[in-house]
Amino acid sequence: MNPQDELLAVLDRVVAQAEPGEGVEAFGVDETETNVRAWGGEVESLSSARTRGVGVRVLRDGRMGYAYTAVLEESALTQALADARRNAAVAGPDDANALPEARAAAPLPEVAVDGFEDVPAARKVALALELEAAVRAVGGEVKGVDTAAYADAVTTAAIASTTGVRQAYRRTDATIFAEVLAERDGATTSAYGLDMRRHPDALDVAAVAAEGVERATRLLGGRKPASAKIAVVLDPFATASLLGVIAGALTAEAVQKGRSLFAGRVGERVGSERVTLVDDGRLIAGPAASPWDGEGVPSGRTALIEGGVLRGFLHNTYTACKDGVASTGNASRAGFMSPPGLAPTNLFLEPGELSAEELFAQAGTAFYCQQIMGVHSGANAVSGDISVGAAGLMIRDGAFAEPVREATIGGTIPGLLDGLVAVGRDLRFLPFGGGMGGALLLIDGLTLAGS
């Protein structure tokens, strides 16, 4: 039996124990992972593992309970079902609690590459070693890496329920990343290079090393900037981390709980006409691609903001029931231990036409924000306030000038969306909070604070 059928068979046994009048959903994960870290020309660590687990939801009289187990023996599965029932008994009843009706998801075979299991461990080790060596070979102000790593996962996910949901898929992921350290006059800078693919053969070691080296070295000699209202160019990494915060305010959960500044504004202008924000769970280029979401609802494409106008919010089955709409397929799972939540999949701003050079030229003088720090505390999806730490470089006359450190960028989410002047043409997904689409953004109306 293949791993997908094997896992479905386990889930079937749980669902078959449902009592009359109750809904039961079982979600299972079976994952094989390898992690390699290299340092100083040697393998620092090599880790391999297989983890399996099942999470069970029970719905009874409008009450939902959850339990999980990493032990897949019959008795442990029965115990998990009993625990989920007991948990449901104390949960508050809610008419919007529901297990989704079965809707067949179109397969998405591109998320897995066949033959992944045949990649020898030695090949994975070599990728980490080559990456570390490539950074070290640069020499000079480049001190080496803090971390050079290869990581992969072959994941089988399956779901079955009393409402007829029954499906499974397989996914493969391979990533290399390096955190590069550079030093000048006793001050150290660090930056990431990163590549994510479906198979190790597609990973580009030289490009990752070069990216980390360029990003770390160009920050050398950074000083605090003068405080100013100034145009800001957000680097793809910075864009990706800020999108995560904006996304938090665009879930229906945030809206229903009064925690979104976008509540009640569907159909209104919430940003400049450049702002088209899309969530697409079936986009193969995105790290969060999957045929169905954490409840087995088919993944899809949702335009949240189009030409600056708010079109809607992200939904899972619960929030959709509450609003009387259809789920957008955004139920999220952080593994088998978590009940379905609500999160973006691959979220991105529709790219524009400008190359980096053209965007810089349009900016003229600006702060190029390469790193954002403290985004989770410093950007508030309820109040809309943004105040985050930043490092980067000044852009003068359309080109990189002096580096900047210990700066903060202040403003508001509405101000940022209103002030979006241009989106670069190159889109690159990064693994921040699902999959956030990084692009170059040119924004007016933010404050840069330093000394």
Binding site: R86, G92, A121, L181, L261, N380, S387, G389, G410, A449
Partner: protein, 464 residues
């Protein structure tokens, strides 16, 4: 449920298999974790979750090389398979023998006085409801209240090829209150979330009512806030609020793995005076009931107290077995892991700035113009440069030694060594907070603590 333990013969077989390719040290870490969580949101009990996680990780070390494998099947056959998988990461021949296993007792234990598992789900619902009622009672501006209860009982079995064998139970309980207050267009949030290596005796000192009320009061206070200014100011950190800054900006750089790679601003600085002579900072895994306390660390070294900075001088790094050997220092008992799926790495336990000799009230009075910070939000630090950023959750503008008005949207920005040098007063008071620290993808509970701290000058990034 009894303590998790594995049969001696099984353990020997697993360790022997792990050493079959030339490893000079092998270890098995088995864990059984029973967790419960419950959330009261908007008056409704939701996300009632319970679960069992169980598994074992097998680690083999050869020189500086580590191989690791884990499984969540705890049969002898599955464990030996995992040991062989780990051993396959090393290319050599068996040499090291497994020593006779001897039981070690943890030097201190943190047994719960009132076992959380004695309280069933209905009892937990009553606890979160008490917290919610108290939050609602704060005023009509309180619009949303979320109360989250969680407990975990972790049983750890640890054995290694040097003959160590131990079992330990760790029980932790936490109750978190979050409130949203609104007036007109202004929306603000408040938080209070105590936790401890304790059972329900936690609620003797932190009643559910107090937790709900404090979260709501903080949200309501911030409704009157004005946008924070930007620039360099004197900042006073209230007791408990500055521990996260010490943790992020000073603690991480004192972790031996970061030091060993030269990626820390504190690397090579032992014995040097970096901070003001007022400053003594420790990491202490032995604090009774401390959020980050334990008996043995996650590779069997007894819990201890490590002085990181003594009167401003950089003293000891926090180390695990591997990095202690690499740096030629003693093991400090700071090896921690999120669970059986993770390699142990040097981590903080409870990192505290110790109290000083100054009257806290006098410290506030000494500030002409500045910021009094009651609670910081999350922070982030680049250990290489020491640069950090912290959100300020609750703060007041200070004029002539008095709190003038609350301010919002502010960040503290700076770097660790500079802040250490600019601390110019430490209060006689002290308080703690609890955090969840993330590093290399692993989350562990971390205790935080500080007295009233005055920082002469630091950058505030505001929105005004």
């Amino acid at each position: 449920m009894s303590e998790l333990t594995l049969d001696d013969a099984d353990v020997r077989a697993v360790l022997q298999a792990a050493l079959s390719t030339g490893g000079d040290f092998a270890e098995i870490y088995a864990e059984d974790k029973v967790s419960r969580a419950l959330r009261l949101d908007d008056g409704r009990v939701e996300d009632v979750i319970s679960g069992l996680d169980r598994g074992a990780g097998i680690r083999v070390i050869q020189g500086r090389r580590t191989a690791y494998a884990y499984t969540n099947v705890l049969t002898r056959a599955a464990l030996v398979d995992a040991a062989k998988a780990a051993a396959a990461g090393l290319p050599g021949e068996a040499g090291t023998q497994v020593a006779d296993l001897t039981d070690r007792r943890p030097p201190l234990e943190h047994p719960p006085a009132r076992d959380p598992l004695a309280v069933d789900q209905h009892g937990l619902v009553a606890i979160v409801q008490r917290a919610e009622e108290a939050a609602r009672a704060v005023g009509p501006e309180v619009r949303q209240v979320t109360i989250m209860y969680s407990d975990v009982r972790q049983s750890v079995f640890l054995a290694n090829s040097e003959g160590h064998r131990s079992t330990e139970q760790r029980v932790r309980t936490r109750l978190v209150g979050q409130a949203v207050a609104a007036r007109g267009d202004v929306i603000q949030t408040g938080f209070e979330g105590p936790g401890a290596s304790q059972g329900h005796e936690l609620f003797d000192t932190h009643s559910p009512e107090r937790i709900g009320r404090l979260a709501a009061e903080r949200a309501v206070t911030m409704l009157d806030s004005r946008p924070a200014p930007s620039g360099e100011f004197t900042v006073v950190l209230a007791p408990g609020s500055g521990g996260v800054l010490f943790h992020e900006a000073c603690g991480h750089g004192m972790e031996a793995d970061i030091v060993a790679k030269g990626a820390s601003v504190y690397a090579g600085k032992r014995g040097q005076k970096l901070g003001t002579a007022l400053l003594t900072g420790v990491d202490d895994a032995t604090v009774p009931g401390g959020w980050g306390s334990f008996g043995f660390d996650d590779e069997g070294t007894p819990a201890q107290r490590t002085v990181l900075f003594e009167q401003g001088v950089c003293t000891d790094y926090m180390s695990d077995r591997l990095r202690a050997a690499e740096l030629g220092i003693a093991r400090s008992g700071n090896a921690r892991r999120q669970g059986y799926a993770n390699l142990p790495i040097p981590r903080m336990t409870n990192s505290y700035i110790l109290p000083g000799a100054d009257d806290p009230a006098e410290i506030l009075r000494s500030v002409k113009r500045g910021v009094w910070c009651e609670s910081l939000g999350g922070g982030q630090v680049d250990p290489a440069s020491g640069d950090f950023v912290f959100g300020i959750a609750v703060a007041h503008w200070v004029e002539n030694g008095e709190l003038a008005y609350p301010i919002r949207g502010a960040n503290l920005v700076g770097d660790g060594p500079t802040v250490l040098a600019r601390i110019d007063a430490l209060g006689t008071d002290f308080d703690i907070r609890q955090g969840v620290c993330g590093k290399d993808g692993q989350n562990v509970p971390a205790g935080l603590g500080n007295p009233t701290v005055r920082i002469d000058r630091i950058t505030i990034g505001g929105t005004a």
